[in-house]
Symmetry: C2
């Protein structure tokens, strides 16, 4: 076996162990198992739900609570009427290419099939191009070897209908973002019309993937954590970029085109100054994302940002970075997306709803501006055009002043507008002063977006270690699902009663804890280590005598003896619960 294969096999091995542990101990497993399962759907078990809650709590802290002066959280429905996705472009753009075997009728993602068969990248190619590639390279059905049909596009929105009127088509949202766009105006008003304004949402989304084959990495239904951050493109404000230490590791689109595969490092401010990241706020949230992923236990050299090439980007984005983290088996996976969506979405919703979604910004004091205005001798126009004169006046008011100035400067005697010949002597362009109290504009948007379940897998994968034949899940203490294990040294009184009382006290104080009195103490430590419990307290024979217990830390296995009455508060401090 060559070295690469060996590494690959070890990686597969690790991934399989993580998945086995997840299933056996209750982090996650395929949904609807008793019915044979459905690809792309996973349950989170008791430990997975606790871990996911902790990840969400941390995300909320990093992206909302710490920015509560400018970011608020809202909640909008999963089921969304069709018009919203017409306006957002998802009905036309949120698609994958699909191809069917002409013989066994199995359906495949055409791009994946070609990439695997020919070992090339085809992201962004049209259905016609993909069909041609299949024909030219004789790509065949991987199951039965027969010919494949034409490549078609398949929309990834789950479709449904609202109410008993089947014409009310609706879709499950594939991102939370559109809820923030359709409600932007109201939230902006509620927040007393301040900008910048971040609207965050944590909620369920669904994507009807054609044939998801990557376990928890590619789910058809998952929890998204998103911020749509709205700002004035002319006066975006000053994000405190200097607050961030360290660097961002970035693989730019240019570097990719040059054929480079690894990232380079840039200071956060430097990345903006050098034009690598085109918007300050985009850079700001990327730096927050870096710190957030670090806080989940991923070292910086296991993470970087990859700029997407134009054809790799979503339809709404003008610049996009994926935050990539290395995990076993699947390699570099996307854990967050950072898109500069500009005013694409609000523009779309203005067009489709007919509502004004612009923001009005009052100047500190009114500004006097010189503007050119067309003045018309109404009496002349009235006499000349009679019942048509109103129409002519309207045309003259809305016409570009340059056109009129040009005609006048040429000394022409008539100015012709839409077939009306207006005497030049009746028209004049004057410069006047106008008081302007503010400015109307469509805010621009940058969006950091995370999938919570993928982060659960990422955390487990990074935390999984084997030490002397034992599995230790080194989850950072502050996100560990269970904080404390309580053991009586032996399952006898009074040790059991003391241990159970301590366990109840911990629960009452809100510390997620487990009690275990079955098997040897070594086995119990191993069971706790395997699911990442950072502290284990043992009630032993000494306890009834001097009211002390031992606390053992998971990673160092260091033990300290502590007074029974202090244990709970001590653990609370240690895990920041």
């Amino acid at each position: 076996m060559c070295r690469v294969d060996e590494v690959m096999s070890r990686e597969h091995d690790k991934y399989d162990k993580v998945v086995e542990l997840a299933k056996r101990r209750g982090f996650f497993w395929p949904s609807f198992e008793i019915y044979g399962g459905v690809a792309g759907f996973y349950d989170l078990g008791p430990l997975g739900t606790l871990l996911k809650s902790n990840i969400i709590r941390l995300w909320r802290e990093f992206f909302i609570t710490r920015h509560m002066d400018m970011v608020v959280e809202i909640e909008t429905p999963v089921i969304t009427p069709e018009v919203v996705f017409e306006a957002s472009g998802h009905l036309h753009h949120f698609t994958d290419p699909i191809v069917e075997c002409t013989s066994c009728r199995r359906k495949f993602r055409a791009d994946q099939l070609i990439e695997e068969a020919l070992n090339v990248k085809v992201e962004g190619r049209s259905a016609e191009e993909l069909t041609r590639m299949i024909r030219e390279n004789n790509v065949r059905c991987p199951f039965c070897g027969s010919d494949l049909g034409e490549v078609r596009v398949f929309n990834l929105l789950f479709q449904t209908f609202i109410g008993p009127y089947t014409q009310n088509k609706a879709y499950l949202r594939p991102e939370a973002a559109q809820g923030m766009f359709t409600s932007f105006k109201r939230v902006h008003k509620v927040m007393r019309e301040k900008l910048p304004l971040g609207i965050a949402q944590i909620g369920r989304v669904a994507r009807n993937e054609i044939s998801p084959r990557q376990g928890m990495v590619r789910l058809r239904e998952f929890t998204i954590m998103e911020v749509e951050f709205f700002f004035d493109p002319e006066e975006p404000g000053e994000p405190p970029l200097s607050r961030f230490g360290g660097n961002l590791r970035i693989l730019t689109a240019d570097a990719k085109v040059r054929g480079e595969e690894g990232p380079e490092t840039y200071g956060v401010e430097e990345a903006v100054q050098e034009g690598i990241i085109k918007n300050k706020w985009l850079a700001y949230w990327m730096a927050v994302a870096r710190d957030f992923i670090k806080a989940l236990g991923v070292p910086e050299n296991h993470m970087y940002f990859e700029e997407k090439l134009p054809h790799e980007r979503a339809h709404y984005a003008t610049q996009t970075f994926d935050q990539l983290v290395r995990i076993s088996r699947w390699g570099w996976i996307e854990v967050s997306g950072h898109a500069y969506r500009g005013d694409y979405d609000l523009q779309g919703h203005m067009r489709y709803s007919g509502q004004d979604l612009t923001v009005f910004k009052k100047f500190e004091k009114p500004v006097t501006r010189k503007v050119e205005k067309v003045f018309v001798n109404k009496v002349v126009i009235g006499k000349l055009f009679k019942e048509k004169s109103a129409e002519v006046l309207k045309l003259l008011e809305s016409v570009d002043t340059d056109l009129i100035k040009e005609a006048l400067s040429k000394g022409e005697s008539y100015i012709e507008i839409k077939g009306f010949k207006v005497p030049a002597s009746a028209v004049e362009v004057r410069v006047i002063e106008e008081k302007v109290v503010g400015r109307k504009f469509i805010p621009h948007v940058v969006e950091p977006s995370f999938g919570a379940e993928r982060l659960v897998l990422m955390v487990l994968d990074h935390a999984y270690t084997e030490e002397e034949e034992r599995v230790v899940l080194k989850v950072p203490h502050h996100i560990a699902p269970i904080k404390l294990a309580v053991f009586p040294l032996v399952a006898k009184e009074p040790l059991v009663s003391i241990a159970k009382e301590l366990f109840s006290k911990a629960l009452a104080e809100g510390i997620p804890a487990i009690y275990d009195d079955s098997g040897s103490i070594g086995r119990r430590y191993a069971r706790a280590d395997e699911v990442g419990v950072p502290y284990a307290v043992t009630v032993d024979y000494q306890t009834p005598e001097d009211k002390t217990v031992t606390i053992r830390e998971r990673d160092t296995r260091a033990q300290v003896r502590v007074g029974l009455s202090e244990v709970v508060s001590r653990i609370k401090e240690l895990v920041h619960a």
Copy 2:
């Protein structure tokens, strides 16, 4: 105006004010407003999301964390394959009657239409009965006055398809429960096969209501909070009912049949002993529900449990209580349901999946039981039935021993089984001793179930008060969305800087806070009172001198002067943040 009308009008008035406040200050508003809205969908704004989070946190504390030794939380998908709802009975039973106008083609809920037109209760009536009622009483279309068609049943499940194969029909779950049932076996295993075992879930559900007209009370999509509590029906364990003080107010089914409308009070244990509540664990969770709703600010005399009559119950339940709370305009609304589901759901999933979902309980020590067994002279059978003898032997083994004993006692010479005549002399029934190590059974289930959005409305409705022309939202401090308002007395330095620093410190400590320096201090207090901020801190001219500020409490308006450095920890204590 008569007294009842007056009260009604005041109630409507209050409700309208609550809804107006909710919209203006950002608790909730109809979704997709810019597209004209869609009935049954609401957004939660920034304050609504915070309030809902606090309600969920409290629910988690009451129903999960405090019971962590027996209740765990999981998360399962919203999108659910069809077979699950075939097994659960929802495909056939989760329906509402619908009737269409023959002229304008509008569709209505037939039961609501009849109830409104005839002022009778028709819950549980069949489509045929409802059609007859419409015909006999000449109920007509409320819009155009034309004839109505036949009443049909409309399934309330939102339908969709998984993947590109349109035959993979799926539905959005109308309750979280089925996820707990389909995963029961795995969770039970992960939890080391203990019973009782509560599996809780907080997540999105969707019900395709025909024409929801009650705002936040009846949503087509909402967050459910449910526990499926599994126990051994023979040895259910002893819930600590004596732990609960006070009473449960219950309107029993019997009392309803007798025509009573108000509840009677029972002690929690008494309700079980008198057979009012048929299961101890059902009573246990009802008592928890009572305490939970009280903790949300609802006094006990605004709440009671109503037992559902057989035809009012869901198809899976053998006893059900709705927990009702009185709110303005809508009167008594259901805030939780408490169903004794027995083994209905696990039975269904066993039948449809072919999987064994029973639980095996080992006896403390093996039990020796006397059992009757049929012994057969195989030689005789072999000679007599030749190639059919295996079949005959199988029949004899599975037949009821009583049948054979009866035949033998009558002295018959042949025993006839499925056409085979077996000589009586070749058959004998003997009593033998058998060692049994345990017992297999299907656990029974009780289910407390809450809708989170309805609780948001309930809390606001109960908290809304008007005092001297001012609105004060008296939300209990521990669930108030914003805990602290920070004001500089005037918008001048150094007051502004001091106030902003305090505000930042509060946010950094995780206290949801607002900063406000616009308008008079009185207006700012009013703005904070209106959204239920329990404490307002004012930085005044004295602050730069002696480093003290005033803290004002919302309900009493009492003010105390406190050192600037202690404010944050003081507020934390006060709100239990």
